[in-house]
């Protein structure tokens, strides 16, 4: 049965879009049919991170308004046969997104996809609300930083009250994904540690993505990090998180780069 996942955070710049692309690609690699949907109307970026920015013809708003049919707006990934993108609109105003329209699109996507990943915009406005409205599960992307943890808590409150599932007395399954984590700084007490984040948010952990240059490198070239450099530390962490999402039990650890002497001498270029 199809699963609708929202990737959300409240705060901007914590890694929602990167995580949507990385997990979407990792899910598709397992053979699941996956669509990633950009809800950031007016500020779309998932197309760029996925490397599909020059192939956008129609978008979510066009489909909601009936200007285009859903299959016309869906873009198939060039690397993975089972990965698709539904881009956000870049120009229209975000009021064009209606609950009824989004509901129709999600219902239609449910018929032909295994996973529907909704990339939420930052904030708690309409786009963010609608991206979580029909979710079965939520990935709350959190940085180990006070403002991000606070906003995640707010979003968790909304997931528990403003979603269709919550209104029907059911629960949206929630997972925290900690991104930009630096284990060394956390060990020195300079960064909130994982245990504290989980205790404060009282939500289970999906994965820990270490701070890494590979994330920027992947978005520079328009490829999800899990495809661009699967052996890199963030990619391995995303792949582990994806396996947990699929129900596997995977030991929780932060992948670290092996800093061998030769690597150090080469300025760590070999990583």
């Amino acid at each position: 049965m199809a699963k609708v996942l929202v990737v959300t955070s409240g705060k901007g710049g914590v890694g929602k879009t990167t995580s949507t692309a990385a997990i979407g690609a990792a899910l598709a690699q397992t053979g699941k049919k996956v669509v990633v949907v950009d809800f950031d109307i007016g500020l779309r970026n998932l197309d760029l991170v996925m490397g599909a920015e020059r192939r956008v013809v129609f978008d979510l708003i066009n489909v909601v308004q009936g200007i285009a049919k859903l299959p016309q707006a869906l873009i198939r990934d060039k690397r993975l046969e089972t990965l698709w993108l539904l881009p956000a609109s870049q120009t229209r105003d975000k009021d064009a997104l209606t609950e009824e329209g989004v509901g129709r699109v999600i219902t239609e996507l449910r018929k032909s996809y295994d996973y529907i990943l909704c990339d939420s915009p930052a904030g708690i406005e309409r786009g963010a609300m609608l991206s979580m409205r029909f979710a079965d599960e939520a990935i709350i992307v959190t940085n180990p930083e006070v403002s991000s943890v606070r906003d995640s808590d707010r979003i968790i409150g909304m997931l528990d009250s403003k979603t269709v599932k919550a209104e029907n007395g059911e629960r949206v399954e929630k997972h925290v994904l900690v991104t930009r984590y630096d284990p060394a700084r956390a060990a020195r007490g300079e960064m909130i540690n994982i245990e504290d984040i989980l205790e404060i948010l009282a939500t289970s952990l999906l994965g820990i993505i270490p701070e890494s240059q590979d994330v920027l490198r992947a978005s520079n070239v328009g490829s999800p990090v899990t495809l661009n450099n699967p052996a890199s530390t963030p990619a391995r962490a995303y792949l582990d998180a994806t396996r947990r999402l699929l129900g596997e039990t995977v030991a929780m650890m932060v992948p670290t780069e092996r800093k061998g002497l030769m690597n150090l001498l080469r300025g760590r270029r070999a990583a």
Binding site: E145, V146, G157, G189, E190, D196
Partner: protein, 97 residues
């Protein structure tokens, strides 16, 4: 001195105390408050508005002379409303009271 430290097994003294525990403490206090307030009007804000409404029934308030301070603690919160009243208003106040 730093040369000696290179050869000693003792780590260098921490230049700054760990800030992460402070972050945790601040978040715990703040989120306990925010969760209790979710979906409800802010009690302290409501108190502030109603107190000012009562006072302004008797005297004309100069908004610049009203200072409201709030302090949210783990167990108690305080609301401090400091209203400066011009002296010439006192007889009116007495008459009103």
């Amino acid at each position: 001195m730093s040369l000696l430290r290179l050869f000693s097994s003792r780590p260098a003294p921490d230049p700054a105390p760990a800030s992460a525990p402070i972050a945790r403490e601040r978040l715990q206090i703040l989120l306990a408050h925010e969760r209790s307030m979710r979906g409800k009007p802010d009690l302290l804000m409501q108190l502030r508005e109603e107190i000012l409404a009562v006072v302004s029934r008797h005297v004309t308030l100069d908004p610049e002379k009203v200072i409201v301070r709030m302090e949210r603690g783990r167990n108690v919160s305080t609301l401090e409303v400091d209203i400066e009243l011009p002296n010439e208003l006192e007889p009116k106040l007495a008459a009103a009271g």
